[in-house]
Amino acid sequence: MSLGIDWVTEWIRESARVIADHRVELITLDREIGDGDHGENLDRGFSAVIQKLGDLPEGALPGDALKLVATTLISTVGGASGPLVGTAYLKAAGAVGKAEQLDGAAVVALLTAARDGVVLRGKAEVGDKTMIDAWTPAVDAAAAALADGADEAGILAAAADAAEQGAKATEPLVARKGRASYLGERAIGHRDPGSQSSALILRAASDAAAGTSGTGSGSSAPDAS
C-alpha cells in the first residue's frame, strides 16, 4: 500500500480537527512560557487551510496539497509558528515532487525535508526546547521503522509515537530559542507548545494513514492490509 492525495487531504483535515480540539491546551502551554497565542494562531491557519482545500483541482497531487498548506499557513498564521510550520510543509512539498503515490521511503523523505525546513528557518537544535524536539525523534523513528520493513502507516505511527515522547521530553529543558528562552530556568517543568502541536500534527498524519482519523482513537496504527 502506498499513500496518495487522499491521505494528504485527510491528514490536513485531521490536523485542523485536532488543532481546534487542542486550541485551549496549546494557548495554556504557551501562556506558561511564551505569550499565549500558539493555539489561536495555528487554529486560525488550519481553519483557513480547510476553506482552501476545496480549491484543489481534480487530479491534484500530494505535493500540490502540501504546497497549499504551506502558503496558507505562511499567509495566515503570523508569529514564529507561521513561517516555521509553513516552511515545513513547503519543504515537504518539494521532497515529494510530482509523485502521485508515496511509498515508505517517500514518506520518510517528506518528514525529513519538513524537519530540515524548520531547522533552516528557526536555527534551533535538539534540546533547545522547540518543535525540533518533536520533529527530530519523529524523523529518526520513521527512518528506523522503514529500515525495519514497516509499511507507510507503521512508519507514521512510529513517527507520531516518537514525537509525543519528544514533546514530553521538552518539559525538563531550559529554552534557548523563541519567547520561552527569556525565562531561563523558569521554563523548566513546562512543555514546549510548538513541540506539542508538532506531535498533534504528526499523530494526525498517522491516524489519516491508518484510517482511524476522526475517531479520536489517536493510538498506534493497525496493520495496513
Binding site: 498564521v77 508569529g79 528562552s181 527569556y182
Partner: protein
C-alpha cells in the same frame, strides 16, 4: 476579562478603523491585508520606512505613521507578528523609488516574517534593507536565548531614521543612522501586573500582589528575576544599572532619557521614575539633553514602565529635533 471590546476577533480591525476615523488627515488605512500608510504615500524619491509587529503595543506602530517618521505600519494580531503578505503590500504601497527600510523588533516571529517579506519585495525589484532593533539589556546572553529583544528604543529609531529619510538621505544613510541609534540605545523594563490578551481571556502570566517582574519584554515576558515590590527609586536603580553598564555610558555623555509606560501605569508614576533616573544619570556625570515621557510602546493594560537611554551626538540630536507629525508624536510642524 473586562475590556472595551466587541469581539476578540475584531479587535485589530476595529482599532484600525478607529485610527482611520481619528487621524484621516495623517494616514490612510487599507484592509485585507491590513496596513496603515502615511497620507500621500508614496513620496517620490524618499526612502520609505516600514515597521510593524503584533498589535497591543499602541501607539506603536500605527501612531507613528506620518511626516518625519514611518511611511507604513503593519499591525499583526494581538502580540503576534503580521504575516509576510501585508508587509509586502505595505512595502509596495510606500516605495517611492528610493528603497524601503524595514524596522524590525528582535522577536523571532517578527524577524522571520519581515525576512520573508523582504525577500518577496526584493523579487519585485524593490530595494529593501532591514534593521533589527535589540535594545533590551534584560536579556543577558544572546548565545543562549533568541537574543536581545527590541523594545521601547524602537520609537527612537523610527523618529530619528524617519527624519533622515525626510531630508531625502539615501537608503544607505538612513539605514546607517537607524543602525547607529539602535547601537547606542539601551532599555530595560519592569512589570507590576500582567495583561490580558483578548483572545486568551486570561492574564498572560501571574504575579502575586506583592511581586514585580524585572527585565520584561513588551509582552510581559520575563528576562531577569521576580522580586518583591520595592519603592520606585529602588526599582529605577535596578533598571538603570544594567543599562549604564552595558554601553557603557561615560561621564560627559549627552543622552536622551525616555521613560515609557506599559499601558496601565499613570503618568504621575512615570514622572517619579523619570526624576530618579535623571538624578542617577546626573550623579554619573551623564547629561540628559533630550527627554520623552509617556505611553509609547505599551503592553495592553499592563502596569509597569521601561527606561531607555540613547547616547546622543550632534547628528542624532539634530534629527531628533527635526519636525514630526504623527498621531502620537508631533512637534515643530
Amino acid at each position: 476579562m473586562k475590556k472595551l471590546i466587541n469581539d476578540p476577533k475584531n479587535v485589530v480591525d476595529e482599532a484600525a478603523r478607529g485610527i482611520e476615523a481619528a487621524h484621516g488627515d495623517l494616514v490612510d488605512v487599507f484592509y485585507d491585508p491590513i496596513y496603515i500608510v502615511r497620507k500621500g504615500a508614496p513620496v517620490q524619491g524618499k526612502v520609505a520606512l516600514v515597521s510593524g509587529g503584533g498589535s497591543g503595543h499602541e501607539p506603536l506602530h500605527g501612531g507613528f505613521v506620518g511626516f518625519g517618521m514611518l511611511d507604513a505600519a503593519v499591525p499583526g494580531p494581538v502580540f503576534t507578528s503580521p504575516t509576510p503578505d501585508p508587509i509586502v503590500a505595505a512595502t509596495k504601497a510606500v516605495d517611492g523609488g528610493a528603497g524601503v527600510l524595514h524596522i524590525v523588533k528582535n522577536y523571532t516571529g517578527d524577524v522571520l516574517n519581515f525576512e520573508t517579506a523582504a525577500d518577496l519585495a526584493s523579487a519585485d525589484d524593490i530595494e529593501v534593507r532591514s534593521v533589527i532593533i535589540n535594545d533590551d539589556v534584560a536579556v543577558k546572553d544572546s548565545l543562549y536565548t533568541a537574543g536581545r529583544r527590541g523594545v521601547a528604543g524602537t520609537v527612537l529609531v523610527e523618529k530619528i531614521a524617519g527624519a533622515s529619510a525626510e531630508r531625502l538621505d539615501d537608503l544607505e544613510t538612513v539605514t546607517r543612522i537607524a543602525q547607529k541609534v539602535n547601537d547606542q540605545t539601551r532599555s530595560m523594563g519592569v512589570a507590576l501586573t500582567p495583561c490580558v490578551v483578548p483572545h486568551a481571556g486570561e492574564p498572560s502570566f501571574t504575579l502575586a500582589d506583592d511581586e514585580i517582574e524585572i527585565g520584561i519584554g513588551i509582552h510581559g515576558e520575563p528576562g531577569r528575576e521576580r522580586i518583591k515590590l520595592e519603592p520606585a527609586d529602588a526599582i529605577v536603580d535596578r533598571l538603570l544599572g544594567p543599562i549604564l553598564e552595558d554601553l557603557p555610558f561615560a561621564s560627559g555623555d549627552k543622552v536622551l532619557l525616555f521613560v515609557n509606560g506599559m499601558g496601565g501605569t499613570p503618568q504621575i508614576e512615570l514622572y517619579i521614575v523619570f526624576r530618579r533616573a535623571a538624578e542617577v544619570l546626573k550623579e554619573k556625570g551623564v547629561e540628559v539633553t533630550r527627554s520623552l515621557v509617556g505611553n509609547f510602546v505599551t503592553s495592553l493594560e499592563m502596569q509597569g514602565a521601561s527606561i531607555t537611554v540613547l547616547k546622543l551626538d550632534d547628528e542624532l540630536t539634530e534629527l531628533w529635533d527635526a519636525p514630526v507629525q504623527t498621531a502620537a508624536l508631533r512637534w515643530g510642524r
